[in-house]
Amino acid sequence: MTETAIPTTAPEPKLETLVERMRRRARLVLALRLAVLVFLIGGWELGVRAGLIDPFFFGQPSGIVEKLIDWFSNGTSIGPLWKQIWVTIYEAGAGFLIGAVMGILCGIALGRNQLLSDVFSIYIKVANSIPRVVLGSIFIVALGLGAASKIALAVVMVFFVVFANAFQGVREADKNLIANARILGASDWQMTRAVVIPSALSWILASLHVSFGFALVGAIVGEFLGAREGMGLLIATAQGSFDSNGVFAAMIVIAVVALIAEWILTMIENRLLTWRPETTVHE
């Protein structure tokens, strides 16, 4: 066995170059994302112009943009665009609020009470397996063409998601924390406030993210089924006149609304969960 000298001057990676490399990578990702977007949209547009894609069925990016500009400046066939957006936001928002509050209350009540949960869990499971969108027809018949039927559908869409999460969150509360609170002297109500709700909160907030999307679906489907105004009616009207660009344009408007709502919910979440350890930032 011979001893070999180990080189002691291993090249140390410089921190600056590491930071530099990370930045370069972030720029690369951004550039590639833009490239994908340009490729897809550009390909679509070129495909239409080359006659490979029929704009009658699949629309055309430039046509969609023109449609949006037209809607914003001249209004839509069923009235000003802002009015339609507002109606849909109102229906989805009201349904979301009512459904979320009901879901949270019921979830916590059933999560805390074994008997209630044993009795009702079977019905909740059944109700959850029914395709709830079908209820929209009933709501239109019962509540009319106005906002009430859309709000009701949005409530039904939101309730079960939030309920299931609140219930699970309550059930998952740390047994040690509950025992500790009891020994420290907490009554049942104090326990619910001090331990159960805070630990269920991250579950509930996660479900709110998903369920605002469901509320929008509820409102729009409700408008499809029968309405006098709203984005759903706008889409149905565009569909009725074979206006593909109109359908896509309405879709984009709705997507923007959903993204803004998502952003607001994330802000609220960060506000409420300041006690959580900072997680590594993704993206």
Binding site: L177, N180, R182, I183, Q190, W275, R276
Partner: protein, 266 residues
């Protein structure tokens, strides 16, 4: 050794059994007898999984025995008793409350006015050496500091009976020594009866007036050893003392027998 003198904690012929998911009955404790006097520090050691924590749950009123009697100051335990404090093995401080909120939780639950509770809590935070960390959340603290929060949270309620379930087992050796020292000081002032469960025999001897060795499951008290080392004890140096070593040797023979039996049984 029946209770003629007043006892803080007493268990008589206690049994605690569980039904396992596959329908078998598992006995954690059988014929369990142990009496602890007011102000006494009693440590319990035994093989892992022998039912040490179960005992604490019974005294705390978190669970009921299937047979026998559990009493606190000669009155039967019925639910959670206000005179009891409990320090858990895992972190049981509330992660969504800052240090001040955690320490004042007990008094607030018990109906102490907010201002008074906060003043008491600030006092206890200083006493456990966490001054300046009042508005930190648990995830921002080290394991030892979280244990200090747990101690303050428990001692602020002025417990006459203090139950501790391997409270320092998750800490590194140096921190554990500091916390043991701290606990002895707090206990000297509070004068509560302590039942301290641990798997670390050295820790048991360093801290306790008496060490009870449990048998493997179902747990009984195999033997009780009086630790006549003078107080105040110096946690850092006592373990090198000849008397300490002699006691440790004696109890460890007892304990090893049970550990071997536990291993053979599984």
């Amino acid at each position: 050794m029946d209770a003629i003198s007043p006892s803080a904690i007493a268990l008589h012929n206690v049994a605690r059994r569980f039904v396992t998911p596959d329908g078998n009955v598992l006995s954690a404790l059988e014929d369990f007898d142990l009496t602890i006097a007011p102000g006494e520090f009693c440590a319990v050691v035994g093989p892992t999984g022998c039912g040490k924590s179960t005992t604490l749950g019974l005294i705390a009123g978190l669970a009921k025995p299937q047979a026998g009697r559990v009493t606190l100051f000669d009155a039967p335990v019925d639910g959670v008793d206000r005179r009891v404090g409990f320090v858990f093995q895992q972190d049981a401080v509330f992660p969504w409350r800052d240090v001040l909120g955690n320490v004042m939780a007990g008094p607030l639950f018990r109906g102490v006015p907010r201002q008074k509770a906060e003043a008491e809590a600030r006092d206890w935070i200083v006493r456990v050496g966490l001054k300046g960390f009042e508005d930190h959340h648990p995830h921002q603290l080290s394991g030892g500091m979280r244990k200090r929060v747990a101690l303050a949270q428990t001692f602020i309620n002025n417990p006459q009976v203090l139950l501790m379930d391997e409270p320092f087992s998750a800490l590194d050796v140096q921190t554990r020594e500091l916390m043991q020292e701290e606990l002895l000081q707090l206990w000297a002032q509070a004068k509560s009866a302590v039942l301290f469960v641990t798997h670390d025999l050295d820790e048991a001897i360093l801290l306790a007036d008496r060490v009870a060795v449990l048998t493997t499951r179902p747990a009984r008290v195999k033997s009780v050893h009086a630790i006549d080392l003078p107080r105040p004890r110096d946690v850092a140096t006592l373990r090198y003392d000849e008397r300490f070593i002699a006691i440790a040797r004696k109890i460890s023979d007892d304990l090893r027998e049970e550990v071997l039996r536990a291993r053979a049984g599984h």
